[in-house]
């Protein structure tokens, strides 16, 4: 069976750390970083990159459009 693998790229400077993508992720891939960006927001990042299925739920709910999603079949 073909396996789908995805990955997420977050524009960390644009991210405002609203946490909506973390809640929307069905496979618990994202988290808010402890580090902050230049505006002082805890940006989103991948904590379990292997679990990502590239469903793009995080991208759809992101109010600032800072998430880009890539997906590949292997």
């Amino acid at each position: 069976m073909a396996k789908i693998k995805g990955t997420v790229v977050v524009d960390t400077e644009r991210c405002k750390g609203c946490d909506l993508c973390v809640v929307a992720c069905p496979t618990d891939v994202l988290e808010l970083a402890k580090e902050v960006n230049s505006k002082g927001y805890n940006y989103a990042r991948m904590k379990n990159p292997d679990e990502c299925i590239g469903c793009a739920n995080c991208g759809y709910v992101c109010p600032d459009g800072c998430i880009t999603i890539y997906k590949v079949k292997i």
Binding site: R14, K16, D19, P49, N57, D64, I69, Y70, I74
Partner: protein
């Protein structure tokens, strides 16, 4: 296969729409306005109408909408966006004209303009963002504020005897003969976002086929005004806003 091998243009699934520029948005973290801006950008891009679209920016939180989407914009006086949109569309019938308004703009100061533009059946799209509060000025009570909901000007909750009932303006507009599409959507989950995008596209298509006024209401959150986290406010919206403002099509002809 590592992450770097996946990040290639041919594997792209979703990203920021091309029409949305790189200016950082002034909205608070988790504000629904961002998602709605993104949907408008995607729909215009998919229709290939970026050169023919004129947006009318409101007064309210979305007053700087013209800074974020690379289409033509006009800024209207408070509440007068439908009146300005009427003029723009009548002078340029081949342009796609939409207004982007909040509840304070559309349902309070601009009620007369909104109702009459809809009653005349102007071929415009009205994007109505209803978060039941005046976000920009610091969270005061709006006509759409729910009963019992506390805001800066009704700290003990909205009271019927003093403040009256919440105004369901979309239901009102659905009664008018000039409107062809009145729908209420939300953007709190990915599924809702996809559904809302479909209706938004339909509204823009209606305006180009001169069917009448289309109103797309977005029941949305105001995390700062409601004094909750963005996630909490989404839950609060599902529990409290949806019973009063149920999602779905009020009119679709």
């Amino acid at each position: 296969m590592n992450t770097l091998e996946i990040i290639k243009p041919e594997n792209l699934v979703y990203g920021k729409p091309r029409l949305m520029n790189d200016n950082p948005m002034h909205y608070c973290p988790g504000c629904s306005h961002g998602v709605i801006h993104k949907l408008i950008a995607e729909v215009i891009e998919e229709m290939g109408m970026e050169e023919q679209t004129i947006g009318i920016a409101p007064v309210g939180c979305a007053v700087f909408a013209y800074n974020y989407l690379d289409i033509d914009w006009q800024e209207a006086a408070h509440g007068r966006a439908p009146a300005l949109a009427t003029a723009v569309k009548r002078l340029n019938p081949d342009k796609m004209v939409f207004t982007y308004q909040g509840d304070g703009d559309l349902a309070a100061i601009g009620t007369a303009e909104t109702i009459h533009a809809c009653n005349r059946g102007e071929n415009i799209v009205i994007v109505f963002v209803n978060n039941a509060i005046y976000g920009m000025t610091g969270g005061q009570m709006a006509p759409t504020t729910l009963l019992g909901m506390s805001t800066a000007t009704c700290p003990h909750g909205r009271n019927v005897e003093l403040n009256g009932y919440p105004l369901k303006i979309s239901d009102l507009l659905a009664q008018l003969d000039g409107t062809c599409l009145v729908t209420r959507q939300a953007v709190h989950t990915a599924a809702a976002v996809k559904k809302a995008k479909k209706m938004l596209r339909k509204a823009f298509e209606n305006s180009m086929s001169h069917k009448g006024t289309s109103i797309v209401e977005f029941v949305s959150t105001c995390a700062s005004g409601w004094k909750m986290s963005p996630d909490q406010s989404n839950k609060w919206m599902v529990e409290n806003m949806f019973p009063k403002y149920p999602l779905g099509d009020l009119k679709d002809i």
